[in-house]
């Protein structure tokens, strides 16, 4: 192990990992069992470790989470079908780790309006581009949300509209947040979540299609059925479902982690290997002070000023 890797595994990270995995498993199981909604919410812990510790611990947390879920946990909590998706979980941790490395979990409140507008337009442009080139082609033959729905059963048209409205509502809500809190950080989190979701969908679709006939026993199965009924073959239907629900799911999860990281104390986050880079040093309280007090240091904090007293571990 090189020093770059070893630095990412201090005692705090090792202690955080099991708790993160427990968060994944308990939340994932609750959501899958109790709420039949087309999201999974089983990666919040993985994203948390990736953001605070780095890409390698994030990857390892994802990988271990799914393996432990299947092979180590005793019956009431174990899932026989988690292990094939370990690769996807690892990818999510890796993406979160790099997002943290580039400081994308920072709150950037009181961004001046012009920059905010530019950020908004850029985000919107990227979302439209992703949608145009990444999503629309897959749905060309399937359900079109606002197109010709003549041959399709009304029930599935209804499902299609509900999902479409959910997506629209989620995006609108995030943009409202972006402007009400005037926080450019939200835009970054949104983009990372979307990108991670698309990547996850591309990786998990073949696994789900080949192993499970395209179903996972959760709310997303309804979508697979809808796309298949609309004339897609199984692989395409699973990919369409993934490209629909994974970006929503991952955006929501990245956003949850972003919110958690803003709530916990800076002292807590700064003690993790890449906590300072990921979340920043300054607290991001409500905008009660003048804007001057909240201006971010503009230089990238590669040379860390006054490292807080961390562990007794020799580095």
């Amino acid at each position: 192990m090189g020093p770059w890797v070893r630095r990412q595994f201090d005692t705090r990270t090792i202690v955080l990992m099991p708790i993160a995995i427990a968060i994944n498993i308990v939340l994932g199981q609750t959501v899958a069992a109790a709420l039949k909604i087309p999201v999974y919410l089983d990666s919040i812990g993985t994203i948390l470790v990736g953001a605070l510790a780095g890409p390698i611990p994030g990857m390892l947390t994802g990988l271990l989470a799914n393996l432990i879920w299947t092979f180590v946990l005793p019956p009431p909590f174990y899932s026989q079908y988690a292990w094939p998706f370990a690769v996807v979980a690892a990818e999510i941790g890796l993406v979160a780790g790099f997002a943290g490395r580039f400081g994308l979990f920072r709150s950037r409140p009181n961004t001046p309006l012009p920059i905010l507008v530019v950020g908004f337009l850029a985000t919107a442009a990227i979302i439209v581009a992703i949608g145009w080139y990444g999503l629309i082609p897959f749905y060309a033959k399937g359900i079109t949300f606002f197109g010709d729905t003549g041959g399709v059963t009304p029930f599935f048209v209804l499902v299609g509209y509900v999902v479409g409205l959910l997506i629209a509502a989620a995006i609108v809500a995030l943009f409202i947040l972006l402007f009400v809190r005037r926080d450019l950080g939200v835009a970054f989190v949104l983009l990372v979540g979307l990108g991670c979701g698309i990547l996850s969908a591309l990786i998990s679709a073949p696994i789900a299609a080949y192993m499970f006939g395209g179903v996972t026993g959760s709310g997303t199965d309804l979508l697979v059925a809808a796309f298949q009924k609309a004339g897609s073959d199984l692989q395409t239907a699973v990919l369409q479902q993934g490209l629909l629900s994974d970006p929503i799911d991952k955006t929501f999860e990245f956003f949850t982690v972003f919110a958690i990281l803003q709530v916990v104390s800076r002292r807590f986050t700064a003690r993790f290997p890449q906590g300072e880079r990921a979340v920043g040093v300054m607290p991001s309280g409500p905008a009660t002070h003048g804007p001057g007090l909240h201006e971010r240091p503009t230089e990238r904090p590669t040379e860390r000023p006054a490292e807080p007293p961390t562990t007794s571990e020799g580095r």
Partner: protein, 248 residues
């Protein structure tokens, strides 16, 4: 009561589970998954667990099985229509596909289930550590086993506390989704505060000390089991290769 199957080395049982799952997955069809399922039930009967394992596996697979049937039987495009319910045609191809998926899922559930019902997590982790797995990963695996029930219990307590304050957790979909946040937030934040205490406790007890730990507990292994594991893996490779060459 530990039986002969319980007493096998964890790695042997894990090899059985992995080989069974991979064979059922890679080869597919009906014959191999059913053979795997039968073999696992045989192993379970040695461990006096056949009934319990079958019940557990069916229970775990039930929601996913319902989905498989609904998604495949009714929506898969096929030429032979068996029967129709409203706008949905059940096709022979769909039923065949669903059947194959179901036996495959059953084989995997039984393979993994036999392993987890007969293996103590601590034995598995101790054995892997003895074979050279990093001790820190061993810590993560075992700490997770403790952390999951703890977190579930904590979430339950928080949910009850919030319900006492008037949170609606049993209403419709929207109400339940809205009820998620006041439970999830405190549960995650309070777990994170534990990290601080635990890492200090571990560091004062030599967790970061380099070098290997001396394990006081070792799980017995035998030359026969080593041979059996290699034989099993070789069989698996031959089976998958034969399938790839379209012999099976």
């Amino acid at each position: 009561m530990p039986t002969a199957y319980h007493r096998l080395n964890p790695l042997t049982k894990m090899t059985v589970a992995a080989a069974g799952s991979v064979a059922a997955l890679a080869v597919g069809g009906y014959v191999v998954p059913l053979a795997v399922a039968a073999a696992m039930l045989l192993g379970a009967s040695v461990a006096h667990l056949a009934g319990r394992l079958l019940g557990l596996s069916l229970l775990v697979s039930l929601p996913i099985a319902v989905s498989v049937v609904l998604v495949s039987v009714f929506t898969r495009v096929g030429t032979t229509v068996l029967f129709s319910i409203g706008p949905f045609d059940a096709t022979l191809q769909g039923a065949d596909f669903a059947g194959q998926t179901l036996v495959r899922l059953l084989a995997i559930a039984l393979s993994v289930g036999l392993f987890s019902t007969t293996t103590d997590p601590r034995a598995l982790v101790a054995d892997l550590e003895r074979r050279g797995a990093p001790p820190r990963l061993a810590f993560v695996a075992l700490a997770t086993v403790e952390a999951v029930p703890t977190l579930a219990e904590r979430a339950r307590v928080i949910a009850e506390a919030q319900r006492a304050r008037g949170l609606d957790t049993e209403g419709g979909l929207v109400a339940r989704a809205r009820g998620l946040l006041p439970i999830v937030g405190p549960a995650i934040l309070s777990s994170l505060t534990d990290v601080e205490e635990r890492s200090l406790a571990l560091e004062t007890r030599g967790f970061t000390r380099p070098g290997r730990r001396e394990l006081l507990w070792s799980v017995p292994d035998s030359a026969r089991q080593t041979f059996a594991r290699r034989l099993l893996l070789a069989t698996l490779v031959v089976l998958v290769a034969a399938h790839a060459a379209r012999l099976v």
